[in-house]
Symmetry: C2
Subunit: 169 residues, 2 copies
């Protein structure tokens, strides 16, 4: 399994569909979002439980209720979505091998355990760079790139598709 | 399991022990490196098979033979070791969800599949930043930081420990 899960990919696609015009809508049901992507309603519901707990989405009331973004699309970063769906997973888990070197005879001296292990420090820096890159891109940035590629009719098509599945009042 | 495995941690510790003075030696047997770190000989042997295939270590001849670095410690990066032990693993595997959007009715138009998916592009940039950070640090850099922390006696201690396990001629 890759470090960033397929759940993040579906979560991002759901949130992009909720990022408003020109390629998205403002509110959608879990059922519609699931059907739109060809996955189960349960699967998408679990993603929205995580996205809601992370404060990225809120549920809306009413018979046509569903979910909407809890804040503007330019305030939700890819890192927010990764953390919401996958949790804050370390890139590397240091086993503190340095403390177990046989020459220490089971009693690692203070200098050997002080501060962060030099290997771990390199991994933490790499993780920081990765997270900075994920934090530098918002839903609005990605939606703008999709919007620039897609013909105007695509957004209308998605909106009509969503509306055609909404119970008429 | 974290993205960068515990094998990388042991591999880096082995290579640091082979990075020469003041805190390492030039040549060591797999048995000594395994005992020094309290892990099995088989485990370390498997790491050295991978390190050797990647051109980072070479075996030495003779009854006191073992392994040494295939190039100077300042030419072996942490990324080299990660790639050697874990392989070149992507941070994220794009499932090309964009092509399966229900509004396309099973026939995604060319604009929707052209180029790299906008979500994947963000992940690829994050991976690039991570790899750049790992590539910016060499064994020599880490050894220098350990050397700066350790008392002079540590290097001598490691060398004596290694020599005490070498078959006398």
């Amino acid at each position: 399994m890759s470090h960033i899960s397929v759940g993040v990919e579906y979560g991002l696609h759901c949130l992009l569909h909720l990022s408003g015009p020109p390629t998205g809508v403002e509110v959608a049901s879990v059922r519609n979002l699931a059907e739109l992507q060809g996955v189960s309603v349960d699967y998408v519901a679990k993603l929205f439980t995580k996205l809601g707990k992370a404060g990225l989405t809120v549920s809306t009331e009413g018979k046509n209720g569903g979910f909407r973004l809890a804040k503007p699309a330019n305030e939700i970063t890819v890192l927010d979505v990764v953390n919401a769906i996958d949790g804050v997973k370390p890139l590397f888990e240091c086993r503190e091998i340095r403390t177990r070197c046989a020459v220490f005879d089971g009693q690692a001296p203070r200098w050997a355990t002080a501060g962060v292990c030099s290997i771990h420090a390199v991994m933490l820096d790499a993780e920081k760079r990765m997270r900075e890159a994920l934090a530098s891109q918002t839903l609005a940035d990605i939606a703008a790139r999709t919007g620039a590629k897609a013909p105007r009719s695509y957004g209308n098509h998605v909106v009509r598709w969503m509306q055609s599945r909404t119970t008429p009042s």
